[in-house]
Structure formats: C-alpha cells, structure tokens
C-alpha cells in the first residue's frame, strides 16, 4: 500500500475518533490491536486472507474486540478489514497513534515488557522517560514475553534496552 493511502486512512480514522470524542481511548485500543495482529501470525493471516469472505473476517474482528474495546474501535478495524486493508492495519494504526500524539504535542514511546506494568509503574516510567528524553511522551506499553524480563523503550530513533533477552544475546555472542 502506498504511503499516501496509509496516510489517508489514518487521517480518516483520526477524524472519526476525534468526532466521536474518544480519540485517546480509540488510539490506545487500536494500538493494542495492532500489536496483537503484529505478534499473532494466524490472526494476521486471517485478516489478510482474500479467500475468506469479508463478512467472516469482520466477524473475527468483532469477536476479538467485542466487550474489550469501544464500539468506535471495533467499527474502525472492521472498516479497514472490510475495505481489504487488513494487510496495512498495523501501519495505518501506527500512523494514527503518531497523529494523535502530535495532536497532543507528544511523542510516542513504545515500551515492551515481559509482564504487564501496574498503573503506578506506567506513570513513573512515563515520567522517567520524559525526564530522560526531555520530551512529552505518549507511553504505549506492549506485553511481549519474548523480551523474557526487563524493559525496552523506543522513543523515536532512540532505544533504551535493558531486557534479559538482549543480555542473553550479548552473552551468547561473547561465548
């Protein structure tokens, strides 16, 4: 998909979420949905498989998000899948998150952790990262068991990696 089309879809999603008055909630829910699609190959294959009828793919989305996300988020993802843009779902959502963050004069900070963070930890981490980078951040925490332990934070081009996975890889390289 061309960059212009991704931009157009993300702008459309942004406008709808903003019009519905729940931009922050929608962008957060869609961000989590995008991470789930990114890490689950079967889900990604289902949403992009042209041999599966569109209605069935939309049903999968509704079953997956139903009760866990707002109606706006479900409808927007369903719209993308129905338009045959399931393959670009992650790119469109990432662009939407960037746009929403820019709207708040913030930068997206993606943090990956092996276990979920408590609200307090998330708040303190956001403050620590803001202090460290000198920027206002829109923190997005992704639970990623592959990091094994510790955290890795990505703010723009800057990566702060203190995960067990990276340490093990360093040890393996040294061995």
């Amino acid at each position: 998909m061309s960059d212009a089309r991704i931009e157009a879809y993300s702008r459309a999603l942004f406008e709808v979420a903003q019009a519905e008055g729940n931009l922050l909630v929608v962008e957060d829910e869609l961000f989590r949905m995008a991470r789930a699609v990114e890490s689950n190959e079967q889900l990604r294959a289902t949403l992009t498989d042209a041999t599966i009828p569109v209605a069935r793919r939309q049903q999968v989305v509704e079953e997956l998000l139903g009760g866990k996300a707002s109606n706006t988020s479900v409808q927007l993802v369903s719209l993308l899948v129905g338009a045959g843009r399931g393959r670009d779902l992650v790119a469109i959502v990432d662009r939407l998150v960037q746009r929403a963050s820019s709207e708040q004069q913030r930068e997206v900070a993606e943090v990956r952790s092996a276990v979920a963070l408590s609200d307090d930890q998330t708040k303190r981490l956001a403050e620590a990262l803001s202090k460290s980078t000198g920027r206002k951040l829109n923190l997005k925490v992704v639970v990623d068991p592959s990091v094994l332990g510790g955290l890795v934070a990505t703010v723009g081009d800057e990566v702060i990696d203190d995960t067990v996975r990276t340490r093990l890889e360093q040890i393996k390289t040294r061995i």
Binding site: A114, V115, Q121, L125, A128, L148, A153, D162, L168, I175
Partner: protein, 181 residues
C-alpha cells in the same frame, strides 16, 4: 562311233579356219584391244581403291604394331612402378613402425608424468581435506559447546525469572532511566 569321230573331224576341219589352234587375226586384234581397254579401266578406276585399301591395311597393321609397342612399354613401366612401390611400401612400413615407436614412447612419458602429477594433487587434496576436517571438527565442537552453553544459560535465567525478579528488573529500569538525564 564312226559317226562321232567323223563329226569331230568335221568340226576341226582345217579347211574351216586358218589354224586349228589360233583364232582369226582380227579376232586377236579386237580381243587384244578389248583386253587393253579392260586392263586400262581396271588400272584407272580400281587401282586407287586397291592402293587406298592397301594403305589403310598397312596403317592398321602399323597401328596395331605401335599399340603393341605402347602396351609393352606401359607394362614395363607398370612393372617398374610396382617394383618401386614395393620398395616404397617397405620404407613406409619402416617409417610407420618408427613413428609408432616414437609415439608409444611419448605416450608412456606423458602418461607417467600425468600420473605422477595426479598422485601429487591427490596427496595435496587429501592433506588439505584432513586439515579442513580437523578444523571443521574443532569449529563444530566449539559451536556445539556454545549452543549448549547458551541453552543452559537461557534455561537457568528463565527459571530464575519469577514475579519478584521481573518487578525488580522493571523498577531497576525505571530508576536507571529516571537517573540517566
């Protein structure tokens, strides 16, 4: 009988001609002239044909003689050629045998050199293969040790990552980032 005798006597009666054996003079003259004319005609008209015929026959005989002489000459030439060829065959046989000997010697020399070269190459390759196998075995062993070590470390670390350790890692990250400015 008397009658026949009388008749003969009557036919050859000398009184009937001037001579019982010779013809009349005029008849001799006419006959002689006629003979001369006939012979003259023969000489004039048949002579050239006879001469021509004789000449052609002479030429034919001469041609046959010449042909025979040529055939003889050719036969002698062929015989000479055959004798020469026999000599050539013998020299050719010697030449071929000499060339065969030379070629056989060259082939033997080349073959021996090639074999020696191949043996040397095989030896060199065997030595290189042995060295490579030795190196590969060492590398494989090192790789296996590394893999096993890594797997053991990963297992040990994963086993030690309980909830408390996870929380300590998270808190440690927050503290280090907060203090990093």
């Amino acid at each position: 009988m008397n009658l026949i005798f009388k008749a003969l006597l009557a036919v050859e009666d000398p009184t009937q001609t001037h001579h019982w054996l010779l013809p009349e003079t005029a008849e001799i003259i006419y006959g002689g002239l006629a003979s001369v004319i006939v012979f003259a005609g023969l000489f004039k008209f048949a002579g050239p044909m006879v001469k021509k015929s004789m000449k052609a026959r002479t030429e034919k005989i001469q041609g046959e003689l010449d042909g025979a002489a040529n055939a003889r000459s050719k036969s002698e030439s062929d015989a000479s050629g055959i004798r020469t060829a026999l000599g050539d065959i013998e020299s050719e046989r010697r030449k071929i045998l000499a060339e065969a000997d030379t070629q056989a010697t060259a082939i033997l020399t080349d073959g021996r050199a090639r074999l020696l070269k191949e043996v040397a190459e095989l030896e060199a390759k065997a030595v290189a293969d042995l060295a490579a196998a030795r190196g590969r075995s060492g590398e494989e062993l090192r790789g296996e040790i590394s893999r096993l070590s890594s797997a053991a470390i990963s297992s040990a670390v994963a086993a030690s990552l309980n909830e408390r350790a996870q929380q300590e890692l998270i808190e440690g990250f927050i503290k280090s980032v907060g203090a990093s400015k």
